[in-house]
């Protein structure tokens, strides 16, 4: 994946290049930031359930200091994009991201937020194939949905990055041409209603539908079992 060279608001790679060198202060701040991540309470689809499970009894994300879920973006610094991003939802996600105060971090949770997941097919009309086309992402967590352990590992990875001062997000260029794979899509053509109705009466007789289950059950059971 190609990394966008100059997203202007992301140049945190070399901290404090100005007159006064604040490396040590940044280090201390980063340590504080990494250990008090406040995620936004924000779920889109299936992955949000695992996000909830991550915060609940067994997995208890509070152990690591990132369990303080905030319902308002103004109080949060970590956005966990958990689920499929429908196109209708994109303006909301972008608004939420813009409302979060800097420094802010993004985790793409699951296949959909990473690259479209199972809902990606040639010519799809409803989803955005990966949140990184709209906002920069720090950590990708694969899975459909990922287990809560995977999410916790992802956040710990983010903590590591923050502590080391390497929190540059990855944003793929907005005009990705090869985002969809080359498989030919088998879009159907409309069939004629008259044709569809025809075989019910004379042509094939009535083999598929009308026979009651016992008669019909005998036919497919006849071939030898595969195993």
């Amino acid at each position: 994946m190609e990394i966008d060279k100059n997203p202007d608001y992301l140049n945190t790679q070399s901290p404090a290049p100005g007159l006064v060198n604040l490396f040590r202060v940044e280090d201390v701040l980063n340590l504080a930031r990494a250990n008090s991540l406040w995620p936004l309470t924000f779920g889109l689809a299936c992955c949000a359930i695992e996000l909830m499970a991550g915060g609940a009894a067994r997995f208890d994300m509070d152990r690591f200091g990132f369990g303080v879920f905030r319902p308002s973006p103004r109080q949060a610094d970590l956005m966990i994009v958990a689920g499929t991003i429908s196109r209708k939802m994109v303006p909301c996600i972008k608004t939420l991201y813009d409302q979060m105060p800097s420094p802010k971090y993004v985790i793409a949770l699951g296949g959909c937020a990473t690259a479209g997941g199972p809902f990606k097919y040639p010519g799809q009309y409803a989803i955005l194939e990966g949140i990184d086309k709209i906002i920069p992402v720090n950590v990708y967590v694969p899975g459909c949905p990922p287990r809560p352990e995977a999410l916790i590992a992802g956040i710990m990875e983010l903590q590591k990055q923050i502590k080391e001062g390497k929190t540059q997000g990855v944003m793929s260029p907005a005009s990705v041409q090869d985002s969809q794979d080359g498989r030919p899509a088998d879009y159907k053509n409309a069939i004629s209603r008259a044709d569809f109705r025809k075989p019910f009466d004379p042509a094939q007789g009535k083999p598929p539908a009308p026979p009651a289950p016992p008669a019909a059950a005998a036919t497919p059971a006849a071939p030898t079992p595969s195993a």
């Binding site: 779920g43 609940a56 009309y125 079992p225």
Partner: protein, 547 residues
Amino acid sequence: MVSTLVKTNIKDWLLETIKPEEFSEKNLKVAGILFEALVPQNKIAEVAREYFSQGYFLESITAVDFSECLEIVYHFNQWGPAKRSCIKILAPKNASGAPIATAPSITSIYKAADWFEREIFDMFGVVFQGHPHLKRILLPESSTIHPLLKSFKGEPKGSDVEQCLKLLKEDAETFEITYPQSIKQQNNHYYLNMGPQHPSTHGVLRLLLHLDGERVLDAEPVIGYSHRHHEKMMEIQNYLACWPNFGRLDYVGAMSYNFGYALLIEKAMGVVPPPRVEYIRVLTTELNRIASHLLWMGTFLLDLGGFTPFFYCFDDREKVLDILEAATGERLTYDYFRFGGVDHDIPQEMVPAIKKFIPAFKERLRDYDKLVTKNVIFEHRTKGLGLLSKENALAYGVTGPALRGSGIAMDLRRDEPYSIYPELDFNIPTRTDGDVYSRYVVRVKEMEESLKIIAQIIDKIPAGDFKSGKLPKNVPKGEYYSSVESTRGSFGIYLVSDGTLNPYRIRLRTPSFSNLNAIIDMLPGCLISDVIAVLGSTDIVLPEIDR
């Protein structure tokens, strides 16, 4: 085994109204309906009125695109033993195939028709004459496509980002454009936008609340923020590749959606799965029902301000998930069933694990009773709130625990029996009040009943195969409807097969869609803080609504 065709009044009435060749009887066990009838366009309102007067509810409206016309398909069903029937009207297209089709609206008879018709307008471009506010429902309002038409061949490469950037620009103005006058007209009244990012909407639902002070005057749910094109996607996949879609429709109770799809294809192909499969299926489905209700209970009580039950419920839920994970390998989006079987056999250690779980969970249910059900604060908060009358339940086609909370003992496990449910002994809990508390109690009792079912079959699982032999890859030409009682209500799949390797059209009748529609009449009069309680009590899952 052959189903007895019940002579219904509506059937006699229809035979008098339409030509006999437009009427055909079907086998309920195969096609899922008793009969279907093709009605002239101008008579659909009359037919719908007759159905309504005989106590039928509108299960779904959908459309099928053929080359010369669009078929609009209405499914009606009754509370009690299944009497599903199917009415069709034709919406002609013009020569170029452009979506100029029109049809009369039946919103004045069935309130449920409002959203169904808007969905058909959205997906097929059919204009319903007489619909009060025909606008898009699932796709963004600025969208120009009608994706479920066969003439729609997908969007060009890379258009997802372009579309989203366009939407970003438009979004800021949309609200002002849609509701400018009503906001400025009334000084004391105002609109509050709840969602789509709201922790208590259980997903991405937007509720547009019209308020007078703290009192709700009117509520409009705006859906479609989680539209994932399941129906179009399934048209370009083969039947086997559709399994993951059913795991992800309602991810909280995915097993019953698996069940629906398995039943549909097995009915169509005339396959009877081995007895072991039936037991495994019911066992896993009921376990999943418990897990789903536990998740609902935890989050619902969390919304009401009780933090402790959330941890209790999730703790129990994890125990159920452990059992299911041992069998399926998944925690959430199960793709466990296969046509005529299940993916693999249940492991040895699952049976003792369930036996250990049953008494432990019974104990926990007693705890919940003490902690929540008999809690005075909870009772005061939820009793008499969010009333759903029987009339509204009928008009909106509400099913599932929401309906049973209003005193109707409708459960497809009993009314349209499938698998081994007829042999099992379980009750259908109902409450008569139709408020938030009733719906809560019904779900808690349902967990007990599910536990009862599990206890009954756990010792009786017969040995044998866990799958049938090889099946053909295509489904015989025809139309099929299959329906199961999911965690949230009656889930139906309507399949039009043209005999090829992938479905010609699959329509998913999801229960939450109708249940959410009904909150339009449940919310007015509530306080704003109670909106969450009412919404939570309907137990919706948004990706299932938006599909």
